[in-house]
């Protein structure tokens, strides 16, 4: 297997997704299968090729660095699961 159970767990931790022991086992095979399949890209010589960044060569637009938005705190927190006075509430992170 290209991806072993330890790797699956490490990746899941990085992705902040809790996985069960059973899921970890299944994912080992699934992720390995997909990674083996994409390995065919190694057949392509990309030694002197630039990575693609855009479809048509356009210059990214810059805007003036001024405040264009704001005063919408009610909107910003409107969909939050837990709110207090325009603050998002999370479990204690500093002892």
């Amino acid at each position: 297997m290209r991806v072993d159970e330890t790797t699956v767990r490490r990746i899941a931790r990085l992705a902040r997704i809790k996985i069960s022991d059973q899921e970890a086992k299944g994912l080992e095979a699934e992720l390995s299968g997909i990674l083996n399949w994409v390995e065919q890209l190694d057949q392509v010589d990309t030694a002197n090729v630039e990575p693609m960044t855009r479809v048509v060569p356009i210059e990214l637009k810059k805007r003036v660095d001024t405040i264009t938005d704001g005063e919408i705190a009610d909107d910003v927190v409107k969909n939050a699961p837990l709110v207090e006075d325009h603050y998002f509430v999370v479990p204690k992170v500093v002892e």
Binding site: A15, I17, I19, I34, L41, V44, E50, T53, D75, V93
Partner: protein
């Protein structure tokens, strides 16, 4: 009022403008059709009849006072990936829960500002990840099409394609005049092909991505699914715009695509790429392709064999780029700012619980693949490599444009399949996009047009690929195919009325999502 729902946009527009029918009558016909059909098809995850009828009333006022806008009073469906002010938007994922945006997507705003009426939010694969609409948290969409067996309709359910399966099914079943959709690897064109509808993914940058739930930002594009080529042309013109809120949206005029349709294709150079003749391609797909070639030739086009040598690497490269960008985009679902929250013993535990409960299996799989290929030590080997392959894929097309104006291919390798047929093996499902994904990788426009029926009596589509921002030529060529092939509509409307008594089922299903 089945007859009203069967109209095309162009026909409905005429009738509404001549005031043969009112926008309210037309909208009411669709509201009733949705109520009768949705329990069977599950195309809408949230019908919005009150909103639709209010918009229709406003349209009728404008029509009366001679103040009609381009899409005045025309009822559309809106894929649940497009944020809608005050109307729940979920991307068909549990993780967005009852998220109710305080803003409208730019594409949506363009449509409503043009006078269109929103009938509701359409089902799709979760975060647009899927090719069969089976990954939706609201359950799969059922295609209005069924296989013919010994001259009779078979009872087994078929998928409407994905990810825009709600859009394709709703258009094919006359539950809206047309629908919005999005396409990251084929999610407009593949469902269009599987349901006998027309779907166009415009050039990357043609439509604003602002307010559309992000999947893979360098590939995502919005476009319409419609009943005819003309309707798709009308829709795209209204949807497209330059938008300062999306830095990748391109500042270039949006042509009158509908006006281009009449120009014909005399002298058009059509490329047929030999690499698309994949091993094991079925005879009927090959025949469809040959038919398309013959039709375009008969309409005055010339046919040229071309080579796109990196075609076979598009799909594996896509399955690095798309999950990588998805894992990054979907990092925002943390249970803090919006959507679902499943509390844990500390903040990290809360994140992990929330994301485990909120994301479905396919989404979790892609986030993990994406996280892996972007993790320390692997970035160059995977993501950078795939982006370089992308350059080569684009170069293949740049080379082709020296000798041809459009490229003709099949849209999918096979006709619509049944529920569960491809869910066991992720790669088998990914292969659905083998003909469409190159177009996203190169950022080009691509359209799928219905071109025939399979041996099972289900629709098949042909794909036309165009030069950047040359959607107008795609519409002209697509019109030639439609003129020759005709339209393909479902003969037996088995879903009508079947679930009328349970018509509130959708809303209830939505409300019972995990909290």
């Amino acid at each position: 009022m089945t007859e009203l729902t069967k109209l095309t946009i162009a026909e409905a527009r005429d009738k509404v403008r001549k005031r043969e029918i009112s926008a309210t009558e037309l909208t009411r016909a669709f509201v009733d059709a949705i109520e009768g059909a949705n329990a069977s098809l599950n195309a809408y995850v949230l019908p919005t009849p009150e909103l639709a009828l209010a918009q229709a009333q406003e349209s009728d006022k404008r029509l009366k006072s001679g103040d009609a806008r381009p899409l005045e009073g025309l009822p559309l469906g809106n894929k649940d990936l497009f944020c809608t002010t005050g109307v729940r938007t979920t991307a068909c994922s549990k993780i967005l829960d009852d998220f109710t945006p305080t803003y409208e997507s730019t594409v949506g705003a363009n449509l409503w500002n043009a006078g269109a009426v929103m009938l509701g939010k359409l089902n799709c694969d979760e975060f647009a990840m899927g090719s069969s609409n089976e990954t939706s948290a609201f359950g799969p969409v059922v295609s209005p099409w069924r296989r013919l067996r010994d001259g009779k309709l078979a009872a087994d359910k078929l998928v409407p394609g994905g990810s825009s399966g709600g859009s394709s099914a709703a258009v094919a079943a006359d539950l809206c005049l047309a629908a919005t959709a999005t396409d990251t690897g084929g999610s407009i064109r593949q469902p269009a092909a599987l349901t006998g509808t027309v779907g166009i993914k415009p050039t990357y940058g043609r439509c604003s991505r602002w307010g559309i739930v992000a999947f893979a930002s360098s590939l995502d594009q919005a476009g319409p699914i419609a009943k005819t080529v003309r309707d798709a042309a009308i829709m795209l013109r209204a949807m497209a715009s330059h938008d300062p809120k999306d830095s990748t949206s391109v500042e270039t005029p949006v042509p009158d695509y509908e006006a281009a349709l009449g120009q014909g294709i005399k002298g058009l150079r059509v490329g047929v790429p030999k690499e698309y003749r994949v091993e094991g391609m079925s005879k009927e797909i090959d025949k469809l392709w040959q038919d398309g070639i013959a039709w375009l030739k008969a309409a005055g086009a010339s046919i040229h064999e071309i080579s796109l040598p990196h075609t076979r690497y598009a799909l594996p490269a896509y399955y690095i780029v798309a999950p990588a960008e998805a894992s990054s985009n979907l990092a925002r679902y943390d249970g803090v700012r919006y959507g679902l929250r499943v509390p844990g013993k500390d903040l990290i535990d809360t994140y992990e619980n929330t994301r485990a409960a909120g994301f479905g299996k396919e989404v979790r799989r892609r986030i993990l693949i994406g996280t892996y290929v972007l993790s320390a030590g692997y970035y160059d080997a995977y993501y950078l490599k795939a982006q370089k392959v992308r350059t080569l894929i684009k170069r293949d097309f740049d080379e082709a444009w020296k000798s041809v104006d459009v490229v003709l291919t099949p849209t999918t390798p096979s006709p619509a399949f049944g529920f569960g047929e491809k869910t066991g093996d992720p790669i088998a499902m990914y292969l659905e996009d083998i003909f469409t994904v190159t177009v996203n990788m190169a950022g080009l426009p691509g359209i799928s047009v219905p071109a025939g029926l399979s041996g099972e009596g289900t629709p098949l589509g042909l794909q036309l690929i165009g030069k950047p921002f040359d959607e107008a030529t795609l519409f002209r060529a697509a019109q030639a195919i439609e003129d020759a092939a005709g339209r393909f509509t479902v003969a037996e409307r088995w879903w009508e009325g079947a679930g009328a008594a349970k018509s509130t089922g959708t809303k209830r299903a939505a409300g019972s999502k995990a909290k």
